[in-house]
Amino acid sequence: MNSSIPFDLQRIRSDFPTLQRQIHNGVPLIYLDSTATAQKPQSVLTAMDEYYRRSNANIHRGVHTLAEEATAAYEGARQSIAQFIGARTAREVIFVRNTTEAINLVAMTWGRTQLQTGDLVILTEMEHHSNLVPWQMLAAERGLRLEFIPVTDDGLLDLAVYQQLLEQGPKLVAFTHMSNVLGTINPAKEMIAAAHQAGALALVDGAQSVPHLPVDVRDLDADFLAFSAHKMVGPTGIGVLYGKEALLNAMPPFMGGGDMIKKVTLRTFAANTLPHKFEAGTPAIAEGIGFGAAVDYLKTVGMQAVEEHEQTIIRYALERFAEISGVTVIGPAAEHKGAVLAFTMQEAHPHDVAQLLDREGIAVRAGHHCAMPLHERFKLPATTRASFYLYNTIEEVDRLAEGVEKVKRMFA
């Protein structure tokens, strides 16, 4: 199949050192686990290496040259990320460890001050555990009511039920923009507008959407957006909480310590201004710089192009898998779906499928993918998940399908 790939795929592949690797006996790596974590291009590795080799210093407090360079690189990354997601200002970009920490930050600061006993928080059945457990913890502490937008059999959110839930006067709607299992791309803009109309704030889990789609916080009118660098060709250990400035200003600080203060006496402190107010202690400096380089890389490729390429891949993959009997893909049709392919095979357990595919050099994931309630919903203990990114090819989809057919033959 010859498709219109919107960029030079071979050149992109050559930017990623791991993709040059061979597995086992000279089998080339086919990396189909980018939903778990993406591979990193050389430019990201170089940016972090340069920081450690040339400019290693703590940021914000030093006045020597290295500290100035490190601060400029770290804050430059923040600017670049702010621009990438369409934030009004870099002050709305709070560096955290990952999506999980971003959501916990909102629960523990905004949630603890704004939510009271009996208040309603709307979530969905397709959430990753990171957008369930923080709210369960807060609900237990504060006596909140949690309600869930159901998932239909074809993997979409039941928006009619959402409308009914909104009539009950929720304080917050927190949902994933794109499911890490079904690949479902939820109509975030419409869902946020409906939440606002009902007087609720909207938190968007962008862990899967920000790496794969153009996401603009002002267009979405999201109140909070959480995402992680490592899923978007950046390093682990760094992520972002975007929040509207007025909301962030009204929230109490998260952790206490250095850098988040303006002034400290023995018994009191005054919090620093945004974004530092939420960034206690020495942050992941190299990773922040690497995150900036990752965003710059994606900007150069263009998120529209990334989305188009992945649409081509998932359409082809769905067609190809439809031909394999006994294999069931869960999730919606291609037009509602990102490049995530979770499937079950009648004959073999997902872990065995993944193990055998690894022998072919194909890296996929098996399990519940941190979405146990969603698997419960489909009455599946686990699935095998192949996920694609800008560097994957149509030929790799063929290799995956052939591999799955081979496993099927083994278990037949």
């Binding site: 914000h60 407090r61 030093g62 006045v63 500290a67 100035e68 360079e69 601060t71 400029a72 804050e75 009004r88 200002t89 002050r91 203060i261 303006k262 002034k263 620093n272 201004t273 945004l274």
Partner: protein, 136 residues
Amino acid sequence: MDDMYREIIIERYKDPHYRGTLDPHDYTFEDENPLCGDQIRVDVRADEAGMITEAAFSGHGCAISQASADLLIESILGKNVEDVKKMTKQDILDLLGIELGPVRLKCALLSLKVVKAGLYGLGEASDALVDDDEEF
């Protein structure tokens, strides 16, 4: 030592022309920068037409922050309040005549932030006041 410590900066730091407080005043504001422990208060008097007739700063901190405050006060005297509200980061850099990295920029801009927060009558000073890339 280098450009960052031009003669005028050392001179104004050691011997500022506009240090003091004004009581009564029409506008006042105070803020600090945690980096060097800079602290600046500015008091301003204006006439009925909004022209700034007197202004003074007090506080303590690094040479960049204090010299920039002194030069800023000098530059706003005789100006209209509305015009001062429109002053930018670049205006301060022009007054100082030096290039600054992101860390020391905060020292240099503290006084402008304080002046603008005072003239706008804000409860808290926002960094947006001194970011030329933003509309305030």
